[in-house]
């Protein structure tokens, strides 16, 4: 069986084509760090990495959002802590005002202090984060309290559901925490200031248990907020770890084994050199030289 010259060249071209194709793929794998560059490289792994990438995107988004919620709730908690301190001050003032030895002039001074405390509380109740009022219920774009303590928010609340199903409340109805001119802490502080200014010690004494109740209410609200804050803290911690895990899983599925890829590249390059060398020999026809 003879070997035609055309078949030799065709065979060389076919081998060189296959070699070039292999080499290009290996070099692309090394350049990108990915072994699975397109679905047809490994349909199952590509699809699995696509789902994992989507999960990682959701988790990464959760992380940023949870950090934002974390900061928002920390601001709200700080406001409640400040209000708690203000109520403590109000209790001290009321205790002093309820003492029979306190003079009317002293009581008027104490009344001014309570008025100042009331304004502090209203200021904290109008706290904002990112332009939204935290204690306005769902009416987040308008200050929930005016300077007199009238509440213009609502009783609505808002929660965020994260990709792992965890829910975190982000808005709070101020009325249930701070009350308004008709009830709760604000009403108590308003009436306390009025009692102190008018020298009504009985009314001052009556305000004390109401302030204790308000303090308890603030503590309870901080507790509820703390649960949400803890959830947000956990989300930040978990999302960071989960994102790392997902990236590892994606890398395991699609990442290239560099050592193996480098070996494959060397083999392909050697093969290429051999083929090119063979090609240069094919160009020579010994018999023609002999005949010449």
């Amino acid at each position: 069986m003879g070997v035609s010259d055309l078949s030799l060249f065709n065979s060389l071209a076919y081998s060189l084509d296959n070699n070039t194709s292999s080499l290009a793929q290996i070099e692309q794998q090394i350049a990108t760090g990915n072994q699975v560059l397109q679905p047809s490289d490994n349909p199952t792994d590509y699809a699995a990495s696509q789902v994992l990438s989507a999960q990682n995107s959701a988790v990464s988004n959760d992380l940023v959002l949870a950090q934002q919620v974390q900061a928002q709730l920390t601001t709200a908690d700080g406001a409640l802590a400040n209000v708690g301190n203000a109520v403590d001050s109000a209790i001290a003032v009321a205790t002093e005002g309820s003492n029979a030895t306190t003079s009317p002039a002293q009581m008027a001074t104490l009344g001014a202090q309570v008025q100042s405390i009331l304004q502090q509380v209203l200021g904290q109740a109008n706290s904002q984060y990112g332009g939204s009022y935290l204690f306005a219920g769902n009416q987040v774009q308008t200050p929930p309290y005016d300077s007199s303590g009238n509440y213009s928010g609502d009783t609505g609340t808002n929660s965020v559901t994260f990709s792992n199903g965890n829910q975190v409340q982000t808005n709070f109805a101020g009325q249930s925490i701070f009350g308004d001119t008709g009830s709760g802490l604000i009403a108590t502080l308003t009436s306390l200031a009025s009692a102190l200014n008018s020298g009504n010690q009985a009314a001052v004494s009556a305000a004390l248990p109401q302030l204790q109740t308000a303090l308890t209410n603030i503590a309870t609200s901080r507790g509820n907020l703390g649960i949400n804050l803890q959830t947000a803290n956990n989300l930040v911690t978990d999302a960071t770890a989960q994102s790392t895990t997902l990236q590892t899983q994606i890398s395991n599925l699609t990442g290239v084994n560099l050592a193996q890829a480098a070996t494959n590249e060397q083999e392909a390059l050697l093969q290429q050199q051999a083929l090119v060398s063979m090609g240069s020999e094919l160009g020579k026809i010994p018999l023609v030289d002999i005949l010449a």
């Binding site: 065709n10 065979s11 047809s40 349909p43 989507a54 939204s132 769902n138």
Partner: protein, 453 residues
């Protein structure tokens, strides 16, 4: 009866010249892939009383490998089909899973992330703007993908007319060659060169449409004749776009061609277009299902302006791709579940985000979230492309191997030819010397007879 020494030598000279001519023709066609190596058929002349009387030239013959030729045509058809199918599906895969930028899966997840963010800050203008951007990006990605797939399918289908034209040209040429070969054979000529041309054309038809031919030059595809003796039938396209079909025109009508029985480039192009259009249909089903569910949820919500009933997307009656509802604005995007919940309630945005976990949206892919459904579509199509590439590599290797085998029988080996050239040169020289010897003998005899008389 006497032996003519001179005529024996002359017959040798003729034979050597014919062999050298064949060898030179072989050498000059060494790089012609459609050429079969030629040789001269010789026959020894029987002389009186068993003494040889030179040599006769019977004719020139081409090396033949009919079984291999048939196998190559068949595998060439498969390889061309695989190449065309692989090219179309690889292009579609690139559109489905671009190497850079967001694919539909990424756009989907960005959309659901945006709704989650909106649920946390429904009154925030920046967050609402980001949600509108994510909605727009999803629609644009869907449109871009659908448009790319349409373009790929159309580019496949637009090749069909040109391929059909090439098929008809080749069929016509084969019919003409059949006529010439028959005439040459009737006149006692070899017709080897014409048969080479016909084999090349039959191979071209195998490559183009998966046709097969017989030794008489009749060609058919899927049982439908294309060339019958000296007549060629005309192949024609019917319809257009996805409903494009083929028929064979007859003198008194036409016969539809079963496209599934067509091989070669034409078969691969048609199968590739069908596969890409099926993929487009699956993507459209996914995007319209998701957009429909999101629309229903968004329409039940309330925007910052207190309006309700605003859809996010416009879904065409044809089934996709989706586009952003032109009436949608940052203000009327329904993030709140109730009118009284505006602006701080983001529970409807939360419900929009939850659609990302719905496993019953896509009828043909049950138990899959939208992202998982898209991944399944990608995986399934990736398998189609993987099989196509593997099949193409295998068929190319088979064709290469068969071509090598055929070439070892019918191809030109320059070493062989150069060796033979020396052999024929020597034969020519020897025959010339034989004639010279005969002439010398005759001269000697004449001189001897003259001197003795």
């Amino acid at each position: 009866m006497s032996v003519s020494l001179q005529s024996i030598g002359v017959s040798g000279i003729f034979a050597a010249e014919a062999e050298m001519a064949a060898t030179e023709s072989n050498i000059s066609n060494a790089s012609n892939p459609n050429y079969a190596v030629e040789s001269v058929n010789l026959e020894a002349n029987a002389g009186y009383g068993g003494i040889g009387d030179g040599v006769s030239i019977l004719g020139t013959v081409s090396a033949q490998a009919p079984y291999l030729t048939s196998q190559i045509n068949s595998n060439q058809s498969t390889d061309s089909y695989n190449q065309a199918f692989s090219l179309a599906t690889t292009d579609a895969q690139q559109a489905l899973a671009p190497s850079s930028g967001n694919d539909l899966s990424g756009s989907l997840q960005s959309l659901f992330n945006a709704f989650t963010n909106l649920s946390a800050s429904p009154a925030d203008a920046t967050v609402r703007s980001s949600a509108i951007a994510a909605i727009t990006q999803f629609a644009q990605t869907d449109q871009s993908l659908s448009s790319s797939l349409s373009s790929i399918a159309n580019s496949q289908l637009t090749q069909v007319s040109s391929l059909v034209s090439q098929v008809n040209d080749a069929s016509t040429q084969i019919a003409k060659l059949n006529s010439q070969i028959t005439a040459d054979q009737a006149n006692g000529q070899s017709g080897a060169a014409l048969e080479d041309q016909r084999n090349a054309l039959v191979n071209q038809l195998a490559t183009l449409i998966g046709a097969s031919g017989d030794a008489q030059g009749n060609v058919s595809v899927g049982g439908m004749p294309l060339v019958s003796g000296t007549s060629a039938l005309t192949l024609a396209t019917v319809g257009s776009g996805p409903s494009l079909g083929l028929q064979v025109n007859l003198a008194n009508g036409s016969l539809p061609v079963n496209v599934s029985q067509i091989g070669g480039t034409l078969g691969g192009v048609l199968a590739g277009a069908t596969s890409v259009l099926q993929l487009q249909s699956q993507v459209n089903e996914l995007s319209t299902s998701v957009a429909g569910a999101l629309n229903t949820q968004a329409e039940s919500g309330y925007g910052l302006d207190g309006s309700t009933g605003t859809a996010l997307f416009t879904i065409p009656g044809s089934g996709g791709p989706v586009s952003v509802n032109s009436a949608l604005t940052e203000q009327n995007l329904g993030a709140s579940a109730t009118a009284s919940g505006v602006p701080g309630d983001g529970s409807n945005a939360s419900a929009l985000a939850a659609i990302g976990n719905n496993q019953n949206l896509i009828a043909s892919l049950p138990n899959s979230t939208p992202v998982a459904a898209f991944s399944e579509i990608t995986s399934n199509f990736g398998t189609v492309v993987q099989n196509a590439n593997n099949n193409q590599q295998q068929s190319a290797a088979t064709v290469q191997s068969l071509t090598q085998l055929q070439s070892s029988i019918t191809g030109v080996s320059l070493n062989d030819q150069l060796t033979q050239l020396i052999q024929y040169q020597n034969a020519l020289e020897a025959s010339g010397r034989a004639v010279q010897a005969a002439d010398d003998m005759t001269t000697y005899l004449v001189q001897s007879l003259s001197s003795s008389s």
